[in-house]
């Protein structure tokens, strides 16, 4: 259930509207009512009393959706006390859901939403820095970047179960990729067995299982295919392991990272598996020696459903730079816009309500001065669930304080 705060009617008029679900519409109106998009088009009647936002000469798009980050779960990278994204000491932390650790007052939220990112997947672990080498990191939540409480921010929780099959996952499984895969299978097998023998489990009339009841219980929606398993895998062979296991257990798989995915777009596309990619990731490591800028474009060209992410949470706002660079490396502009709006909404199962400018959808809307991916473009208006977001943050306050020196404290 998505919470809406205000009953307000807003008409964004005269802009070039990029609905994503269809071709761009010049001089169009986006009408927002009670937090949802009421109408989009050139023949939209603006009700009396509506707040008008003149977007003449501007570009209007859906709010950007970041594929994965730790928004609200990490205030300052190196300050342990502000990190909420890990359940340490449990390498099968399937029952760990990050949602209640999210801090709606995080300063990162205002900094990033005012740059056009309105929605993000808050993930356990860290796709960039796997914290402990765990196998299953926990449950991710999809949130809008507005709201005083987690109840008001929440879109979908859990939105995915997150697991690691990259190099970093090895430690907890004995130090071998094969051991990681075997351990994941054992956990999934145990979760299946647990589901059929809960009573035996309670009476302790069952062999030792590889995880706690809470964690095995949390895996049931994954086994049913109701909850996607988001797997961090970068090396080609790791991606193939993920595809293999997903096929064996009939899981809904999402690949994240997928740095060497460009080598096998056909396999990934044939499996119907979407990927979350960071386009500016191209520094080789032994986890992905074949990493390259062209990954996202080559995957998209190969028919894979691609969404983009910016893993530096404090700079989630650079998602648009990621998208622009994906275009420079060969994605079409339309593919890139879709990869930060409708495609992630589809991947996370909320495309009925998010990701495009269509009547009935949640009114996450951004008005840009131009092409959203260009540095010359600024954000003019941001609406989240129909509420206009003030373009203010701790950083804008610092700018104003020190714009003239000495500052007035």
């Amino acid at each position: 259930m998505i919470a809406f705060l205000l009953a307000q009617t807003i008409a964004i008029t005269g802009g070039t509207v990029y609905p994503v679900s269809g071709p761009k519409i010049e001089h169009a109106t986006v009408l927002i009512r009670d937090g949802r998009i009421a109408a989009v088009g050139t023949n939209v009647a603006v009700p009396a009393g509506a707040t008008r936002v003149d977007a003449s000469g501007k570009w209007v798009t859906p709010g950007l959706i970041d594929g994965a980050g730790q928004m609200g779960l990490r205030e300052i990278g190196v300050v342990q006390g502000t990190s909420e994204y890990t359940q340490r000491g449990n390498d099968v932390a399937a029952g760990f859901n990050v949602l209640e650790g999210i801090n709606p007052a995080s300063t990162l939220i205002a900094v990033n939403r005012m740059e056009g990112v309105t929605t993000t997947l808050a993930v356990p672990g860290s796709l960039g820095v796997p914290p402990s080498g765990g196998l299953i990191w926990g449950q991710a939540a999809l949130i809008d970047l507005d709201g005083a409480t987690i109840e008001t921010m929440q879109i979908k929780s859990p939105a995915a179960m997150v697991a690691g099959l990259s190099e970093a996952a090895k430690d907890a499984s004995g130090g071998s990729r094969a051991a990681v895969a075997q351990r994941l299978r054992r956990v999934l097998n145990d979760a299946r067995e647990y589901a059929t023998r809960r009573a035996d489990y309670r009476r302790r009339q069952i062999q030792d299982l590889s995880a706690s009841a809470a964690d095995l219980e949390a895996l049931q929606p994954v086994l049913r295919g109701d909850l996607p398993l988001l797997v961090v895998a970068n090396r080609r062979s790791d991606i193939e392991t993920a595809l293999r296991i997903a096929k064996e257990y009939k899981l809904r798989l999402i690949l994240a990272g997928a740095a060497e995915g460009w080598m096998i777009p056909g396999e990934i596309a044939a499996a119907g598996v979407p990927v979350l990619v960071e386009p500016l990731d191209n520094i080789p490591s032994y986890d992905a020696l074949g990493i390259r800028y062209e990954n996202a474009p080559l995957l998209a060209k190969g028919g894979v459903k691609v969404a983009l992410m910016e893993t530096a949470t404090e700079n989630t706002r650079d998602l648009r730079q990621q998208a622009g660079n994906a275009v420079a490396s060969g994605m079409t502009w339309e593919q890139a816009l879709r990869a930060v709006t409708l495609t992630p909404a589809e991947i996370f199962g909320v495309a009925g309500q998010y990701g495009s400018l269509e009547a009935g959808k949640v009114a996450n809307v951004v008005v840009w001065s131009g092409d959203p991916f260009e540095f010359s473009t600024g954000v003019e208006h941001v609406f989240i669930r129909g509420r206009e977001i003030p373009l203010r943050s701790r950083q804008t306050e610092l700018l104003e304080r020190y714009r003239t020196l000495p500052p007035k404290y």
Partner: protein, 468 residues
């Protein structure tokens, strides 16, 4: 992943910092015409040390015609041509005559800039693939290691080097990391595919001395004998320079009168004495405004200049002071929040610093960021403009070319497209301040070291051979 790289560089290895060193006998960089000669690394009376063996690669003359040429010297020439020959820029303008043997490059619809200079890189010292074996950036065994030289760690086969070249980078300052109060000497390097770091050493460039403020030295040494506080940091710098003052006096006296045996050499003091003589530039990793003020006091106490504050996330708070001091400011466009001393980073810092009259620079400290310094500068320029701070395109270009050259003391040789300058030239597919621009060709001293459309000019390191 990008954050992985940043996280490890910044946090675990404390890779971000400033400083590094290269010595010449005089404070002034040699004239461009002398640049190919061996540098005079005298280190206050000691003979040449680890000299550059840089040699210009022989190339035919090149003329790029009908491009938009951004000179970083005040001009943006539409329909312009640039001719370079024997490693030197010969002419820039709208009516340039080319010799008959010149390679003609059609620049229609394309842009030309000077080669990019990154004043803060750990390429080669924190090489990919990033295991312990390539972790050579911090001699984190004691807080003052002015005696170590980054060039002695530098791996010319770092697979990150060709990536940076493809981003238009022609010169870097490779620095020790920021674990230490005084991390060691930097190396100013031409970014070219060669076998040894000696062949990359920029002739005539000044060594830098990497110094680091704040959290990193505290974190690294807090449980290992200190410093564990910022006051401990300051005491550490002061103790080191007090020793260096005495060392310098002994050597200066001996250099003058040659009485008796020369004083015993001490590598640590040798680097620091060269700072005191003004031959080695202090490149100071420092985030917070109040700490930069402390470091300026330190510099005053010992009579040296801080050439540039690096990272300098809070430079905008003291932009007036930095302008007065003549200390340059090397910043990121938007990095912030990864640690407490980085919490106050704002997009407009470079613009505000420049507006106050200080010299601004955009640096990377990152193997990813170095590939798109043009994009980072564009970000900083446009955010500045949107905040009402005037920044010209030429000024923004200077943030990663001419101003960077000044930070390294090579501004008479590189950094702009002017006749006589070294032919470090980048041809771009589009406006380099656009997210869609890609470097098409990169010329380093006239040598075509990268061509996006010609695999024969896409250098690969040994490491990359036979890899996926």
């Amino acid at each position: 992943m990008r954050y992985f790289a940043a996280g490890f560089g910044l946090i675990l290895f404390a890779g971000c910092a400033s400083g590094g060193a290269r010595t010449t006998s005089s404070g002034a960089p040699p004239a461009a015409s002398a640049a190919a000669a061996a540098p005079q690394d005298t280190a206050g009376g000691i003979g040449p040390q680890y000299p550059s063996t840089y040699q210009r690669h022989p190339n035919p003359p090149v003329i790029i015609r009908n491009a938009t040429i951004m000179t970083a010297a005040g001009q943006e020439i539409q329909g312009g041509s640039i001719l370079f020959k024997d490693g030197r820029i010969v002419a820039v303008g709208t009516s340039v005559q080319a010799p008959s043997d010149a390679v003609v490059v059609d620049g229609t619809g394309k842009w030309v800039t000077p080669g990019i200079i990154d004043v803060h890189s750990h390429l080669g010292v924190y090489a990919a693939p990033g295991t312990f074996a390539e972790s050579d950036g911090n001699e984190a065994t004691q807080p003052v290691t002015a005696e170590v030289w980054a060039e002695h760690s530098f791996w010319p086969q770092d697979p990150q080097i060709p990536l940076a070249i493809a981003g238009g980078v022609t010169t870097i300052q490779a620095l020790p990391g920021s674990a230490n109060l005084i991390g060691g000497r930097s190396a100013v390097l031409k970014l070219i595919p060669v076998r040894s770091v000696q062949e990359m050493k920029f002739p005539g460039a000044h060594y830098g001395l990497k110094m680091a403020c704040g959290e990193n030295p505290k974190r690294v040494y807090g449980q290992r004998g200190g410093p564990s506080t910022r006051m401990g940091n300051m005491a550490g710098y002061r103790a080191a320079f007090i020793q260096a003052q005495a060392y310098r006096r002994r050597w200066d006296k001996w250099n003058k009168d040659h009485q008796g045996d020369p004083p015993e050499r001490n590598l640590r003091n040798e680097s620091l004495a060269e700072v005191l003589r003004g031959n080695i530039y202090v490149q100071n990793h420092c985030y917070r405004a109040d700490e930069m003020m402390q470091m300026l006091d330190l510099a005053h106490e010992f009579g040296f200049k801080i050439r540039a504050f690096h990272h300098a996330v809070e430079a905008y708070k003291i932009a007036d002071v930095l302008a007065r001091e003549g200390t340059a400011v090397a910043v990121w466009a938007d990095w912030w929040g990864f640690k407490e001393e980085a919490m106050d980073g704002i997009h407009e810092s470079a613009a505000l610093v420049q507006q106050a009259g200080a010299r601004a620079d955009i640096h990377s400290d990152d193997p990813g960021g170095i590939q798109r310094l043009n994009q980072e500068a564009a970000k900083a320029m446009y955010y500045g403009r949107r905040a009402g701070i005037p920044v010209t395109r030429d000024q923004a270009l200077r943030w990663f070319t001419a101003n960077a050259a000044w930070v390294l003391g090579i501004d008479s040789i590189v950094g702009t497209l002017e006749p006589g300058k070294m032919a470090d030239v980048v041809l771009w597919s589009a406006d380099p301040l656009s997210v869609y621009a890609q470097a098409l060709q990169v010329y380093n001293d006239g040598w075509l070291v990268y061509d996006r459309n010609d695999p024969a000019h896409q250098p690969k390191t040994d490491f990359t051979l036979g890899q996926p």
